[in-house]
């Protein structure tokens, strides 16, 4: 209350009081109180749509609250824009990146800084920060050639360059290897010990419990709990977050049947300057089997997915073989492969898996043709009905079949897209990052659907950067590193440490030989 609060060392670093933000359709934040002490790692936990992102944007000055008060180091402040937030010492790493595709890493970082530094100096600072924290990145690379994971590294480095007093991190670990997560946590703990406060948004409960000493749980725009996560269990945190525990996954023993997808010695030179060459990738997925590909993003996952889905049409000229049910599919486009029963869920939902400005019903037409009549006539009634059925079956929260894809939250759109491909009753389903940025409830549902599909005899290939997820649903694991694919290993023989090691490209070649001999 007093003017001397600024010098009061006991004042909280950040104190929010009664923050309310209304949007035309929703009350995103409803009288939220939150307090972060200096040098505290404070978790903000909640499902998608719980209001976490809005609240963080308010703290970062990107959104203006309708009501409520913000105090920073005891001083009441009005944070009008991100520049002002950064001037106060608040940095943020966004879940959705704010990077310009056509600029290089260094230029992107430079844009956010005051202009006292020259571009080469910025590049130098990026390099030193990058090596300090083990976040490998080349400052000269254009952003459009980066994978999602690499883009996030740029965002983290950009935030750290501001030497923040309060660092906001929105789901930062989803793209890191377990070892890199440990390393990041070391960095974050170091920051905390230096007195920097963290606001850490995540849905990974074990991470929150490993890193954070305080936690505010949000549900439906309201605070539903404040606790010390180290004293809570996953179950109790889940209850606060979604009001219930997610149902446990039904994992059944399955007997794999005949091979569905066989890739033998697939080599593809990179299609763009900073891509990854695929180097003699071999793998096999059998019916009723879930095979996972682990790896840090940017190691060839994108290229492999392009080649498998048919979006990269160069496969026939490249070395190697692509067989679906023994039939050579290398020369086929995505449509042809889909007709043979190969369906694919890409990692980018908006713009690739769905057209943002089209309705959900029309987005069905990207991969489904049940509602088409003669000569490709669209039966609009049947199409809307189909979309309605999908929305209902997969519990997608949407305004109906005519809702635009871009109006859905990430998790709901993902449910819709995964549902669209699963409902097509594929023989081979390839899913890239099935639960990236999806909340706990939706993630559990999507994993359950994938397993149910495998139970029904479908072959499933999952590419994910979340090891927990792969260990949860896969029967067999591969690791991709620098464009090469490791031999497969059964889940019960694998461990997080082993897979983490393989992620750096270190797997025993002898095992690989043995695997080939076997196959």
């Amino acid at each position: 209350m007093s003017a001397s609060a600024a010098t009061d060392p006991a004042a909280p670093r950040l104190a929010l009081r009664g923050i309310t933000k209304r949007y035309p359709a929703v009350l995103a934040n409803d009288r939220i109180d939150l307090q972060v002490l200096p040098g505290q790692a404070h978790a903000v936990l909640g499902e998608n749509g719980a209001g976490k992102s809005t609240l963080m944007k308010i703290v970062y000055g990107a959104v203006k609250p309708d009501e409520g008060q913000i105090r920073f180091n005891g001083q009441p402040v009005q944070i009008r824009n991100p520049q002002q937030a950064r001037a106060l010492g608040i940095s943020m790493v966004f879940q959705h990146f704010s990077l310009f595709d056509t600029l290089t890493v260094a230029e992107n970082v430079w844009l956010g800084l005051d202009k006292s530094l020259s571009l080469p100096e910025v590049a130098q600072r990026i390099r030193s920060k990058a090596s300090e924290y083990g976040l490998e990145i080349e400052p000269e690379r254009p952003v459009h050639t980066l994978s999602v994971g690499e883009m996030q590294r740029v965002e983290i480095i950009r935030a750290l360059l501001g030497e923040p007093q309060l660092l906001i991190l929105d789901e930062p670990t989803s793209v890191l290897t377990p070892q890199a997560v440990d390393k990041l946590f070391e960095v974050l703990r170091l920051l905390v010990s230096q007195g920097c406060s963290l606001l850490y948004i995540s849905h990974k409960l074990h991470e929150i419990r490993a890193l954070c000493t305080a936690c505010t749980v949000l549900r439906g725009g309201r605070v539903t709990g404040v606790c010390d996560p180290r004293e809570e269990s996953n179950a109790s945190l889940s209850r606060m977050m979604i009001g219930a525990e997610p149902p446990p996954l039904q994992v059944h023993q399955r007997q794999p049947t005949a091979p569905v997808l066989s890739v033998r010695g697939l080599s593809l030179p990179k299609a763009e300057p900073f891509g990854v060459d695929l180097d003699r990738v071999s793998l096999q997925v059998r019916g009723g089997e879930v095979v996972g590909i682990a790896g840090v993003s940017g190691n060839g996952q994108r290229e492999l997915m392009w080649a498998l889905s048919g979006e990269d049409a160069r496969a026939p000229e490249a070395g190697g073989q692509l067989l679906l049910h023994g039939q050579d599919i290398a020369g086929m486009g995505p449509g042809g492969r889909r007709r043979l029963g190969l369906h694919f869920v890409p990692e980018e939902r908006l713009g690739r898996g769905a057209v943002p400005s089209m309705s959900l019903a029309h987005n069905l037409l990207l991969t489904r043709s049940e509602s088409l009549g003669m000569a490709g006539w669209i039966r609009t009634g049947a199409l809307a009905e189909q979309a309605r059925g999908l929305i209902e079956r997969f519990r997608v929260k949407a305004g109906g079949p005519q809702a635009l894809a871009q109006s859905l939250s990430g998790g709901n759109l993902q449910k819709f897209i995964v549902g669209r491909e699963i409902e097509a009753r594929p023989k081979m389903l390839i899913v890239s990052q099935p639960t990236w940025g999806v909340d706990v409830g939706a993630a559990a549902q999507i994993r359950g659907e994938i397993l149910a599909l495998a139970d029904a005899g479908c072959a499933v290939l999952v590419v994910s950067e979340e090891l927990d997820e792969l260990f949860e649903i896969c029967d067999r694991l591969h690791v991709i590193a620098k464009g090469r694919l490791s031999p497969g290993i059964a889940r019960d023989q694998a461990s997080v440490e082993l897979i983490g090691e393989w992620m750096s490209g270190l797997w025993p070649e002898a095992a690989a030989e043995g695997h080939h001999a076997q196959a």
Binding site: P24, E311, P346, V355, M358, L366, S369, I378
Partner: protein, 355 residues
Amino acid sequence: MLRLEPRPGASRLWTYASPLLAIALTVGLGVLIFLALDKDPVRALQMFFWEPLKSKYAIGELMVKATPLLLIALGLSLCFRSNVWNIGAEGQFVIGAVCAGGVALLAAKDTGGWIVPALLLAGVLGGMAWAGLTALLRDRFNANEILVSLMLVYVAIMVLTYMVHGPWKDPAGFNFPQSKTFESVTKIPRLMSGSRANIGVMLALAGAVVLWIYLFRTRAGFAQQVGGLAPAAARYAGFSSRRALWVALLVSGGTAGLAGALEVAGPIGQLTPYVPAGYGFAAIIVAFVGRLHPGGMVLSAILMSMFYIGGELAQSRMGLPRSITGVFQGLLLFCLLACDTLVAYRLRWMPKGGR
């Protein structure tokens, strides 16, 4: 400092009302221009908005001008929806006219009625071929279609000029650069007597219906638009971007060529250097004012046609300069873009100190 800030959601009402507001603003600005030119604004507006609707003949004339505008705009809207920027419809129109004219010149006094469909087909094929050049260069060499199609307009006009100065010049034409007048059998059948409007009106309206069906009721039309809205999604779905490019350019070239054929074998009746009347460029405005929607473009083609006729009347009866038509067209497009921008964004006054 003024800043544009995105609105949370565009108002549905204003999304549709924005063309109307743009027209109202155009009229308002037009009044100011007439006042500045010392002309009676009421009479001038009459020229634009009343005279073209006054009589059956006037309405016929309105349709004569609206037909090529609508036909070309239909094709262009398919291009623009597919993210293919064909700016050269004028050239495709001219080549369509040249090809149709070539066929019409073959006709003799005793030629049968088949000559009309034949010359229309020649016009369509000519326009398609001309647009196909753009498609080929884009497909094969990744050349920018905006530049290529625009530059080809001038080549097309040169082709026309060469033909009427050279091989096809009327021997009995006192050395004027024009072909002989086409035989009357080549005349496009008129809709009714006492008006120059011909069956082209029907073709254009049928084209609008076909385009609507294609865009909103067929998978091929859907695929075409996905390529424009989200190229990665089109690739994911397996829709060919090359196919979309060729379809868009061939269709728009074909409609522009058809418009050219209807024009030379209809109201003009011979090939002259004055065939290119700017319809190909005005149709771009028609397409956008009509929201790239077939129904909207029918209305905007009529509106644009009123501007053409009003401009001519204002010129002959009030002594206003010829460029007044262009000024009106430009004003309308400008106002529409401004209205659209303000539907999606709002202006915010940001005091300099706040930044």
